[in-house]
Amino acid sequence: MKPRSRIALAALAAIVAGCSRDSPPPAAPAAEDSTVVLMNVAADPTISLSVQFAVGSQNDPPGKEGLAFLTGQMLSDAATESRSLDEILAALYPLAASYGIRVDVERSTFTGRVHRDNLDAYLELFRDALLHPKFAEDDFERVRNDAVNALENTLRYSSDEELGKAALRELVFRGTPYAHPTDGTVAGLKAITLAEVREFYRQHYTRATMQLGLGGGFDTALVARVEAALAALPEGSAAAAPTITPAAIEGRSALLIDKPGADSSISFGFPVAVHRGERDFYALWVANSWLGEHRNSASHLFNVIRETRGLNYGDYSYIEAFPEGGQRNMPPVNVPRRTQLFEVWIRTLPNNQAPFALRAALRELKLLVDNGMTAEQFELTRTFLKKYSLHYAETTAARLGYAVDDGFYRLDGEGHLARFRRTMDELSVEEVNAAIKRYWQYDDLKIAIVTGDAAAMKTLLASDGPTPIEYSNPMPEAIVAEDREIAAFPLALAAERIEVVPVDEAFER
């Protein structure tokens, strides 16, 4: 029974690479105009509020990684000037309502939802949290302590899969302000002062950077009421987003997180410069859905690695950020980014099967890039997506989240979800295969593996020798033959391109 949303460890990073084909993403994610995004659903007895600010972990100063996150927590999980936190909790309690914040790389989004019977009482609490945070020392110590613990204990020791995904993003975006977890780093969090949090809030939580959204069964008078309430925020000015030059990826390299006793969790990928709104984005989505639709047994990787061979629990791929993938079935909202990562996620499996599974996924990627989708695969996948995409946003709050994110991607008029469904009808298999060739390849990529025996894994990977696996049951000859190809598929990972980091040093600074 939690009246507040706790935002779990989110993933990190995006890079600036303004090379979109059709309509460029914002060169600098400046403030949107002040138009309110409205998602009126009269039959919905609840009301959803969303206030998005053009600030995120990319704005963390060097050495202060986590400043944006802690600032957000001081709004959502701390006292206001007129109410202590326990008074806030007591007031929210009978309403069964909450508010919370997601601090992502590019945007921080303060959201809440309440039954319309309780709107008046709730609005006052929501407004107070956003406009009048107290920035009390004891709250600051608590939320910082929680954030440090989330890195030192939870990320490093409670979820190898999330650790592997975070490690991949750090490896791909290393040297940029996008590399660190949105929650920060251990050293960064410890270096932040309360005065810096207060100043960060003053600088970034302004009307100039704000995008307001309302959803559900509200009446029109509410719009003016909420706008008037938020008018008390300072006017401010939109800060220029950091300019990032991503390091080019040449060949394959790997980061092994050495965690004694662990099984293996694998992620690999590279940046893709294609965004919502661009036709190629939707073409690539079709290819990605066929290759690895998240938590869906239609995923080809799932079928190759899990369904046919029983090696692990699941295998998926992505062309947009998908934080907390282990805890959700559908894509999250409010994680818009200028540059996305193409990413393959191979779920936990025994260390002695990890090289085989990695090879299987790399080989499938190569086959797709070289051969493209067949007409039949394309038709099946786009038919699937036309209906399946309805599940991406089943609730009013989710649809509102998508609509607010449309502002980031400059999608005026026709939003992402509508565009998605329309484009599915228009695409051809040739377009999809051209997009695959344009954005995907298999030679230049980075690999992150959390493993219980990093030294042996490094030796094995660098040797590039065959890594066959054995089954407890007889397999059909076709599978056995394919296994021989997989077991010898070139890894092309020289020893000097394989880095080993002890788990206790991950995300330290």
């Binding site: 029974m1 939690k2 009246p3 007895p45 609840t46 326990d86 909790l89 309690y93 009978p94 309403l95 069964a96 309502a97 309440v114 019977d117 309780n118 004891d138 110590e141 608590r142 302590n145 929680d146 613990n149 030192e152 490093r156 020791y157 409670s158 979820s159 190898d160 899969e161 965690k259 004694p260 006793g261 099984d263 969790s265 938590r295 869906n296 047994s297 239609a298 899990r306 046919t308 061979r309 029983g310 090696l311 692990n312 629990y313 282990g326 025994p350 099946l380 996948t381 038919t383 699937f384 036309k386 209906k387 399946y388 309805l390 599940h391 089943e394 609730t395 089954y471 407890s472 049951n473």
Partner: protein, 453 residues
Amino acid sequence: MTTPAKPLLCLVLLASAWLVAAPLSSQEPAAVTPIIPYPTETRTLANGLTVIVVPMPSDGLVAYWTIVRTGSRDEYEPGRSGFAHFFEHMMFRGTQRYPSEVYQRILTTMGADANAFTTDDLTAYHIGLGVADLERVMELESDRFQNLSYAEGAFQTEAGAVYGEYRKSRSEPDFALYERLMGTAFERHPYGHTTLGYENDIAAMPKLYEYSKQFFRRYYRPDNAVVLVVGDVTPANIFTLVEKHYAGWRPGYEAPQIPVEPEQTAERRFDMTFDGQTLPLLWVSYKLPVYDAADRVRVAADLFADLAFGETSEAYRRLVLDEQVVEDLDASASYNRDPGLLDITARIKDPAKVDYVLGVIDATIKQFRDAPPDAKRLADLQKRLRYGFLMGLQTPDAVASRVAYFVARNGNLSGLDRTYATYAAVTPEDVHAAAEQYLRVERRTVGVLRPRQ
């Protein structure tokens, strides 16, 4: 295919996931006002299959759930722990008519969101789909529940995926403590193992092909199942279609011989270490009697949990906000089909403060055992429960997941409706009585997990 092992150190919302109502008490009270604001209808086929329809506006989306009233609770035979969950995986391996790749292809064409999960008390197969595909889904689902067919090779391959699911869970300290806690609290009842099962049993699953067919024959029967349909549908149409597709499913459920857990007469304690860095975790569990939605004192046990340890409690304010010695503090009471636990959990920041935190928990319990709680706090909680339920009815799937556990136990929505009626009727004296009757030291198990170093 997810297996939501009990949420650890983040105990569940009242009236959400994990709620499995027990039978109504023998003295069935008068009907109560339905909590769901839609005109639900229930029918039972001649073969015993229960069908519940919840019509609601949903923009053409429908939730189609098949609930088998078998979970890890039913794994009473030695060496068979985790089998209900494993079998959930096998249900996706196809039939003669619709082999798995054909089944999958049809669902893909529909753009369906299909999955399944297993809990202590049930296994649920759920599909989110467009209403136009509803009859086709019924055709598929009725076929696999009657005619499941798979080869031994596929069975053995799937065992590997199940082991993978265990591997991803065991890296979590919360799971390690939960696994040990249940094994300590329950000496005979199958609640003593998690839904995933013991690792040795998981490793041996590939050898149990013949047993798997027996498992299907025993438990996957219409008289042990409920079909739940929520969304833009008309009950009469659904009943006609269900009759058409499911009437031939032959009954024959064989009730498992679940051992009765002996009365606990002395406190049990254990300490364990975790190979990795973690804050110390404290888990305190008290044995409860079986859930009875009409019994105000038994229902009050869960309200006690929130009043005593929830985010507006004195203990929370002291431990989490003021003294900041605890990062997370949670409590909830079981709604399981058989007698379960009232759990209190804490993630403690300072390893030296474990005993101190336990002392605060004890003092809090004593306070509730000595006197009833504040009436306004109880009234606030009762309002919260009602609005929390209503706000949770956002989508057909959300409605289905909210009611599935009650439906599985009662075969209708009466347990759910009765529970919410009883929530509203609970008095401070009932909460006091629950604390006095259930929160006794001799009924509890205390587990502490610390990092090895």
